[in-house]
């Protein structure tokens, strides 16, 4: 009968493996897009595609500032660095900068329509009925030093409105000067030459990162060796990615190695046998295989984030294995079946409460959390089935005879909570934990910043800040997406949000923006401009103005014959920016408004929301917000799952017994956030998920303590201690990670599990230990 169950389970596992193999061969649908984590109603696939495309373009950009005290030397070094990189084929040079030719082309493009074009400030003056600022400016240019206003120009543009329009175009970063086709900027007696490059490969490919960054560093080193005094500042996703990869590799090998070695050592030292390791591995891996297969079957795909957390949650099934193996120490357990029977009630209750804990995540309206729930519930169930059905068959009959030193040590932990003489110690523990919790609560707040997912290299961040200060260039990835039924409506929408953006810019919400309509106003706006110019300048002012100047030639300033439109102006050369602002597809006309130096993403989002068809796109903020929502849901569900476990526990232990079983884990989950806040780690989705784990693990420990009695109590405590130690080794060590999110998860597990273990004996029966172990 028992064997029949084991065979059946084997059949299921074989089927699962076959299914997974099939899915793997046919292309595993592994998702990493934020879209997949959003509820269906919140999705905007078209917007997401545009965002992804822009993100890809941005991620390929690289800005390098080459600085030296001697400007000529700075230019020389910049040129050698640029040509070394370009010649390698790893980068393409950005557009060369020649603003003289560019200005000439611009003027040529706009000349015929000059009477349709007004700079923003000129337009504002005319709308306010103020012609004199424009006239004063023209006079002051005409009378001023040097002076570009030739007799010919006055004839064609008497009020000098076209130069004003051209000067107002948001083109070059203004604090930079341009020489020999390269931009440069002066700072503190250094000259920095700006190199704008585009990567020819994928910055997130590890191979490409290595090639590019090592070539860049080698060239830098060579230039600095031949002439000291070189300062290079770098900005680009590729540098961060390369540093992050290097960091993660180093970390994974050190933390991962320590954790694996520690866990193996712990089990080997305790059981002096390899068998528990092999069996534990079988239990956990069947759990994970079944979980992945089940999730794929139900959802059709698997999200990387869900996989990450799901796997951690399944990992706690090692605790059930440890319960089983610790029966090696129990003289009452004569063979595998007997061992199983003795731990079965505890394991069953533990699995049941854990499954309740994880199932509540299903209630969240977010596909990500649901996947975590399904993944972990199937995983835990499958692992425990493996323990129950296979362990008695795979395990050997004889107990290895391990002596009782460890068991005696474990029984001390019972005494701490049950021996009368430890009363003072107990009070001390309660007092210390309680006061840490109260003090920590004052420092506790939430932090959902998505940047915590990466360990951003500090030197690179400093360089980015310096580049931003010097040039205004930054790793900006925010933009407004503008959608409408046709091109002219797009331009009009942009024109309606421009005044709001200008106000936001003055309020410091952002440093600047670039929109298609600034380069090519809508036809409506162009006709309005002409009316303003004609009615408020030409008709009332032109005659007296020219007389004042003693101009006697003929004026050639007619209404343009046709307006300028995006389709009749080339999106290249001086206006190559236009091609990046137009993101239309054949059915969906769309523009973007590029934002730079955004300080108040939320404010801008609200602003954009005021005009239909305009949406703020801020990938980082989107992730942060999503993590914030996930955190709030997970926290709520954590409370709910504790509430749902209680009836089940009451059914077995009575209302009061159930409350005692709940106390250790509830205290652990409640005290952990304030305590880690004392150490500077704030509440995020990552430690909330850790709290879900702490609660499940804590209830397991309590259930094990509650289910055991008499002579088995020290053995059970040993198993709980081993479980806690192995969790600390696998999860707690993550606290050492320099990736904030991983660190947050790790430190929450570290503190939470220590607390859950510390308080676990409270759940046990109050009677002192029988016998004299």
């Amino acid at each position: 009968m028992k064997n029949a169950g084991a065979v059946l389970w084997l059949l299921v596992v074989v089927l699962v493996v076959a299914y997974l193999g099939f899915r793997f061969v046919s292309g595993l649908n592994l998702q990493s897009s934020i879209l997949a984590l959003l509820p269906n109603s919140q999705r905007d696939e078209n917007a997401q595609r545009i965002q992804d495309r822009i993100a890809a373009t941005i991620s390929r950009r690289v800005v390098i500032l080459v600085g030296r005290q001697n400007p000529d030397a700075a230019y020389r070094s910049a040129r050698s660095l640029s040509s070394a990189l370009v010649q390698s084929g790893l980068v393409r040079a950005g557009p060369a900068q020649d603003s003289q030719a560019a200005t000439r082309q611009l003027a040529g493009l706009y000349f015929a329509d000059r009477a349709y074009l007004l700079s923003q400030s000129d337009r504002e003056h005319l709308l306010a009925g103020q012609a004199s600022p424009i006239l004063n400016r023209a006079l002051s240019i005409l009378y001023g030093p040097g002076g570009f206003a030739s007799g010919q120009l006055i004839r064609h543009d008497p009020f000098l409105l076209l130069p004003s329009f051209l000067a107002g175009l948001p083109l070059t970063q203004s604090q930079m000067s341009l020489n020999h086709g390269l931009l440069s900027v002066q700072d503190n007696r250094m000259t920095f030459v700006v190199l704008n490059l585009n990567l020819a490969g994928d910055p997130y490919s590890i191979n490409f990162q290595d090639k590019f960054v090592s070539l860049e560093e080698a060239t830098e080193w060579r230039l600095s060796g031949s002439e000291p005094g070189l300062k290079v500042l770098r900005l680009g996703a590729v540098f961060y990615a390369q540093a992050g990869t290097a960091e993660a590799m180093g970390e994974t090998s050190s933390i991962g190695f320590a954790s694996m070695l520690g866990t193996l050592g712990l089990i080997l030292v305790t059981f002096r046998a390899v068998r528990p390791i092999v069996l534990g591995f079988i239990a956990i891996s069947t759990g994970m295989l079944c979980a992945i297969a089940g999730t794929l079957l139900i959802f059709g795909n698997l999200h990387v984030i869900a996989l990450l957390f799901g796997v951690s949650l399944i990992g706690i099934s090692v605790d059930y294995c440890l319960q089983y193996f610790c029966e090696y120490f129990d003289p009452g357990a004569k063979g595998p079946s007997s061992r199983l029977v003795r731990v079965l009630p505890g394991v069953a209750m533990g699995v049941a409460t854990t499954i309740i804990g994880y199932l509540t995540l299903l209630l969240a309206p977010f596909p990500g959390l649901r996947q975590v729930a399904v993944l972990s519930v199937i995983g835990i169930a499958a692992s425990s089935l493996t323990v129950v059905l296979w362990f008695p068959i795979l395990d050997r009959q004889k107990s290895p005879g391990l002596g009782d030193a460890l068991v005696r040590a474990a029984s001390r932990h019972w005494e701490l909570w049950q021996k009368r003489s430890y009363g003072a110690a107990r009070w001390a523990i309660v007092l210390v934990c309680g006061s840490m919790g109260i003090v920590g609560a004052m420092f506790l707040h939430s932090d959902d910043d998505v940047h915590h997912l990466q360990s951003l290299s500090v030197p690179l961040q400093q360089q980015e800040a310096e580049i931003r200060r010097l040039t205004g260039l930054g790793g900006d990835s925010q933009f407004l997406l503008v959608r409408a039924s046709d091109e002219q409506s797009l331009l009009r929408k942009e024109e309606s949000i421009s005044p709001l953006l200008d106000r936001a810019e003055r309020a410091g919400w952002l440093a600047g923006y670039r929109a298609m309509s600034q380069f090519i106003p809508s036809v409506t706006r162009q006709k309005q401009n002409w009316e303003l110019v004609h009615n408020d300048l030409v008709l009332p002012r032109l005659r007296t103005y020219l007389a004042q100047l003693n101009f006697v030639g003929a004026i050639d300033y007619p209404e343009p014959t046709s307006p300028i439109t995006p389709s009749n102006i080339p999106h290249e050369g001086a206006l190559s920016i236009l091609s990046s602002l137009d993101v239309s597809t054949s059915q969906n006309p769309a523009h973007i408004v590029m934002l730079s130096g955004v300080h108040d993403s939320e404010g801008l989002r609200a602003l954009a929301g005021r005009i239909s068809g305009i949406a703020m796109m801020d990938p980082a903020a989107d992730w942060s917000r999503l993590f914030g929502t996930y955190r709030r849901y997970a926290l709520g569900l954590l409370v709910l799952s504790a509430a749902l476990m209680y009836p089940l526990l009451s059914w077995r232990y009575g209302w009061i017994g159930a409350a005692r079983v709940m106390v250790p884990s509830v205290v652990a989950a409640g005290l952990t956030p304030p305590i880690i806040a004392l150490f500077g780690t704030q509440l995020s989705f990552f430690n909330t998920m850790a709290l879900v784990l702490v609660l499940s693990i804590g209830v397991d420990y309590s259930v094990f303590c509650r289910e055991t009695s008499g002579e088995r109590k020290p053995v059970t405590m040993l198993a709980v201690g081993l479980a806690a130690s192995s969790s600390l080794l696998t999860f707690g060590l993550l606290a050492l990670s320099r990736v904030y999110a991983v660190h947050a998860f790790g430190i929450t597990m570290l503190v939470g599990i220590l607390l859950a273990f510390l308080f676990a004996p409270i759940a046990g029966e109050a009677r002192p230990i029988v016998g004299s172990r």
Partner: protein
């Protein structure tokens, strides 16, 4: 990241438009250079002839009269006012007549103020060649005439009390400089007259008087003007 739009244009629209722009457009950037040349010229002389050199630690002040001849205008546009040249920082050009305006030229660009209000600012990045010219000016101030000969063919004509310099763009420094046909400076201790032939019937004639070089004694207003660079 900024590179996107500012690239070189490779394609001219139509020959007609291009031709028109050649007439008007290049002047947009050309005038700045001329402003600097005045500054350069004023100090160039100080280096060449005056025993009191205008060094990087000095400031040159004076009055100007500018007569601008433009094609299509029946009379020249005449303005007068004062100027302040601070080597290494910039030039403040304040007209008093026919109306009060202030133009500030620095390494970062040009700012024009009317009634204390910023009427126009053109960053240096819109004015290619500004930095080399500014450096040329600094070179002149420090007596490095070799630096000037990179951009101009220099012809000198000195006698015991007067001198004159004729600068013709050598074309090496790009076409913008070539917008000016020639510059003629003459004076005794300082530059007294500058004549700029801009071609097409346009020309500037400037006279400088009451010039004095001395230690840097900028007023708060002047300090803030020179700080008010296009950013």
């Amino acid at each position: 990241m900024g590179g996107d739009g500012e690239g070189l244009l490779t394609r001219s629209p139509t020959p007609r438009l291009t031709a028109q722009w050649d007439v008007h457009g290049q002047r947009l950037s050309a005038w700045l250079k001329i402003g600097l040349l005045i500054g350069f010229a004023t100090s160039a002389n100080a280096v060449e002839v005056s025993p009191e050199r205008v060094t990087a630690k000095e400031v040159l002040r004076g009055r100007f009269t500018q007569e601008r001849v433009l094609a299509g205008f029946s009379k020249p546009l005449v303005s007068t006012g004062t100027f302040v040249l601070v080597p290494g920082r910039g030039l403040i050009w304040q007209s008093e007549s026919p109306f009060r305006t202030t133009v500030v030229v620095t390494d970062a660009g040009i700012t024009q103020l009317v009634d204390g209000q910023e009427a126009m600012k053109v960053p240096a990045s819109r004015l290619p060649g500004l930095s080399p010219l500014y450096r040329a000016m600094a070179a002149a101030i420090s007596g490095d005439t070799a630096g000037l000969e990179k951009s101009f063919a220099v012809a000198r004509n000195n006698d015991a009390t007067h001198w004159s310099v004729r600068l013709v763009p050598s074309g090496v420094d790009g076409s913008m400089v070539a917008q000016v046909k020639s510059l003629t400076l003459n004076g005794s201790r300082f530059v007294d007259h500058v004549d700029v032939d801009k071609g097409g019937g346009d020309a500037d004639h400037m006279s400088f008087t009451d010039q004095r070089a001395g230690p840097i004694d900028l007023s708060a207003d002047e300090q803030s003007l020179l700080g008010k660079q296009p950013r």
